[in-house]
Symmetry: D2
Subunit: 359 residues, 4 copies
């Protein structure tokens, strides 16, 4: 198995048959500067990619392999891990040791403190016996727009969760500049079913989900800790977030509706829009909508964009921030490629869609 193009970055995709893996295979196989060097997937190991996935046909078909670190290292410059929490950190140290730069889509390296991870992901911690404190310290949180410089030089990127990407995109500009109170922030988030992964579950079946919306993980969803950790970092002090996720009868997309109180209640929606525009100036994947235009998740479907809108209720000084992403792209695999572009010294936009096929 040799790459068909010369001078391209060679990328191993580990965990290719889940939804994150499917996006990665499509994006990298069509990317002008990267090629797939290795495909690993437990379930479909031994089979040809194109036979197993006729809807994402790659030019030079590849056999799906089991995970073999030596083999991966021999043919790859980068590895993107789309593995369950607790498993990614079994593989990462071995790959890093072989000088493969790793982009991890799991939660394993999203906390600087391994202890914090063990607290939040306690079940996985029991099974995994992790001791990679240093790698946790070293890993860069892969929210591309916020940590571009660090990402470019890093050998280990912890890609953010889909919910954190969505709500942090609107919280960071206001927290960093001290424009909102850090008390009483509420994130009411809504996600499509693909966020629940590809393994069969009764509660993700069309029969159960269709024609219904429901909250889940109310008070204590694991992404709360991740959101608070990054939010606190930008605020410069502890921030406590009320985060409630909901399951929406659609495949892709996350909408976060974020409520906070302005420190200066005189600010208007237009003022806040200018704050956002200034903060995200020249960020090609972030679009601030005109005041009064609210984003639908459909507007960013199959793209790597974040669309943001802001309102202010002048009766009570509350700001309402709305942010939509495609949970599998900007919320997962798309941001991974964005980071890969940055690590490889390329324009971060390359190979990433900005416009949807509407409707």
């Amino acid at each position: 198995m040799a790459l068909s193009k010369t001078d391209v970055g060679r990328v191993a995709i580990i965990g290719a048959s889940g939804y994150g893996g499917l996006q990665l295979v499509k994006l990298i196989s069509e990317h002008p500067q990267f090629g797939i060097s290795y495909l690993a997937g437990e379930r479909s190991a031994g089979k040809s990619w194109n036979f197993s996935n006729p809807f994402i046909e790659i030019n030079a078909d590849i056999k799906i392999d089991t995970i073999n670190v030596d083999q991966i290292a021999k043919v790859s410059d980068y590895a993107i891990l789309s593995l369950p929490n607790g498993l990614a950190s079994q593989l990462t140290p071995l790959l890093i040791e072989k000088e493969i730069r790793v982009i991890d889509l799991s939660a394993d390296y999203r906390f600087r403190s391994l202890e914090k991870w063990k607290e939040v992901y306690s079940a996985e911690a029991l099974n995994s016996q992790r001791k990679d404190y240093d790698l946790c310290q070293e890993a860069v949180y892969g929210f591309s727009e916020e940590f571009k410089n660090e990402i470019s030089k890093s050998r280990l990127i912890a890609c953010p969760g889909c919910y954190p990407t969505s709500c942090l995109s609107v919280l960071i500009p206001f927290l960093k500049q001290g424009l909102i109170e850090s008390e009483g922030i509420i994130v009411d988030a809504k996600s499509g079913t693909s966020g629940g992964g590809r393994n069969p579950k009764v509660e993700l079946s069309l029969s159960e989900c269709s024609e219904s919306i429901k909250p889940y993980g109310v008070v204590g969803h694991r992404h709360t800790a991740e959101i608070e950790s990054i939010a606190s970092q930008f605020a410069g002090h502890e921030v406590n977030i009320q985060f409630t996720p909901h399951l929406v009868p659609m495949v892709r997309g996350i909408l976060s509706t974020v409520y906070a109180r302005l420190r200066d209640p005189g600010l208007t929606a237009e003022d806040c829009k200018i704050v956002l525009e200034a903060f995200y100036k020249n960020q090609s994947f972030i679009k601030i909508l005109p005041v009064g235009i609210y984003p639908a998740t459909k507007w960013v479907k199959n793209t790597n964009k974040i669309m943001i809108s802001v309102e202010v209720d002048q009766r009570n000084g509350r700001i309402v921030l709305m942010s939509v992403i495609d949970n599998l792209l900007k919320g997962q695999a798309g941001q991974a490629i964005q980071n890969l572009n940055i690590m490889h010294g390329l324009d971060q936009d390359i190979g990433l869609p900005k416009n949807t096929f509407y409707p």
Copy 2:
């Protein structure tokens, strides 16, 4: 056109071809104690009901008529109006004068103060030249569980909006007993598309709505005033609510996720569940779920139920209340029949479904 049963309440349905009207025709035609005495619908006037609506076939077919007050009065004891805002109040005084008891599904009588109505529904106010101050004062807000006594004696019921029914059901018990702060209440509500009515609109087409969720009416949706007005009445002082509705890709159902701060941060979710249970004791349409079980709108689809769940975040003393209803039944026509039962001296449950056909 004569009623086929004797001793039943004779009910005129005015505005039969919209979604509210369809529910009313089904429910009343199958009700053991009421019969349809008159069907009025502008669009389908002159046609037979069963021909126009093969999916809701009534035993004794009825011709759909235009609105004729004399004729309605001659054959009816009650009239349920499913008309646009501003139109219902043109007809209501004429019916009341003829001693017809009126249940109005529009917003026309939801405010005690006609001035307030004119402020909130300013466009409709311009066209309608209303002067029925007395009727506004007299009308009873038809949230059956909260105003049962008044409803039983009233000749004019203003049925609540779908969003207000959903979120007031969880706010009233806590506001009335002073258990939550009246500052900083947030209602993040999610509705199916049938809430937008049956008239064709691009933004309600399946092509546009499917696979997407979006906020609308952010800051300033008309239901805000209605929610605040009733919430304030129960709180005993002005309550300011942050209300954000969202459009969900499903036909029926509303979920309200309500955030507030407990006055006593020591209360647990179990404590709050007991508060709800005590408040709604013997209310057959209201079900308080066990702590940790969160309701899906599908659980109440095609029923007149409200399902409620409560969580408390003990890190910050915040309560999260979740409430689901079927927007066209408990949120509209079902509650109208519940009120009709009460007005007619019947058990409020008669003719109203409690269990869904799952899934």
Copy 3:
């Protein structure tokens, strides 16, 4: 556990947690003439019904049990089996022996010939070692409208499959009267996902099914043999059917579009409509639509109805028959109750909905 009403038929529901079981529990718990005497379900055994299923709350809560024939026999007059193919026939002989009348929702008794069943359900046959030739001979095919008399006297009813119910309803009138050629009949059928059951499967997840339609079981789906067997019985000679099922992104409903050639090409759509009306005269669950009005599955959702429409292409003498049912009601549990009504000597309509809550 005692029945709360006197003189009602006592019904055991075996297999209560699947979608068929859920319908049965709702329908029987609300039925004026029947009561649930026993609930068995492997997965949820030991739990209270109402705790496990808050969306279908029964008045006198029941504990879900394991299958215990003696216990079932002691408290029941009837047993409805909602079990996997091959398992129902393990239990049925034991229940029959104890003089329980059995309504079986599986395919186990749908063929008079056990050999034929073993051929069609070969995998199940391997595991089950069936020898109940006599019961296969004795069982009555539970298409209520076609076999009412036999059903009323039978102690074993084999309820039809959902697809067969849908397409046989339009084929039987024309085959029995020799009005269509028995060669070249095509049934193109479309079903919602609930037909695939409640066990988790990747291909039934919302992420995979939503926004997609696909054929499956093309040439050789097991229902082909069932359809052909009954069709041949009514035609009086072997009938060969081309049957293609499709999976539609919706929860409930089956639409069968059936193509055949008229023996007399001079017949019009109106003529064929009259044939259907005459055949199904006084059948309250079957509605023949006016020519030019085509049924949507939504029109019969949550009802026990069959809606039928017919067209004729006069250019080529071909008849196009369209039939919609709710796959879980008329296609499964609703028809079971209809049969139960007949067996108990009641009006077949009791406790079965005819009108949907539109939309």
Copy 4:
């Protein structure tokens, strides 16, 4: 308004705000060899494209104009018309006269005989007073794979309807080679709602369409004549098709299930697959699936592909052909760009997606 790239084909898009127009704007704005020279849309005339369509943002924003033939001719090499039937033929002769090459998405030039068009589109014919017999004769039917040579030289392309593209793709190989009987062909087709266009219609609302499938235009849908006309051309004699379209609760996609009788009943599914593979050798947008793998519309969503599967029922010599397309791409705007590529002397694949973002 000047094109931002040199040496690119300049394309006017007339009718930009419908679903066809939206696809065209996205595809051409991202195409390396074409640029948008003019955007016309009645409804949004005068507005900026990017303001009106934040979900498809083009680099150099363009003002949407009214239709001005002189202006279009001055800046364009090609015009793609996405206009209602009967309107396209008002504009086409004027553009052709000015030496603009026209790709028409309407049905106006799909019949060689204007008389036939007037018969099939009788309502439009009444309003339009067409006399462009010569243009009807000259226009090339734009099914790219079948008429590539003629397309490359033509100045007027009549892009096929979405249904015809889907079912002709599987019929042509067998009809042209005389492998199936031309009698008794049945096309049972299923389409998403976007095929009904963007104008608001009650029957296309999510509330009405969701959770439902229904037939429409049974016997006599206008696409029947188009399918028969092209099928007959390839068969070399009159072919009569039974065509039944159905509305499926999804946005995009068409599945055609096609039934015919093999002349040689000894042919197997594998044989028929080889026929298809040979016929479509080197056609990069057409994929013949392995026998036993059936296509879902989701597999081709947002791509220009046709995926085809074939089965044979050896009991009766009947062939079942299945074909899926994205109705707005290969069924409309994608094929238009494919034709534009061919007309401009480019590789037909350029700028057209082949892989979907699954799921």
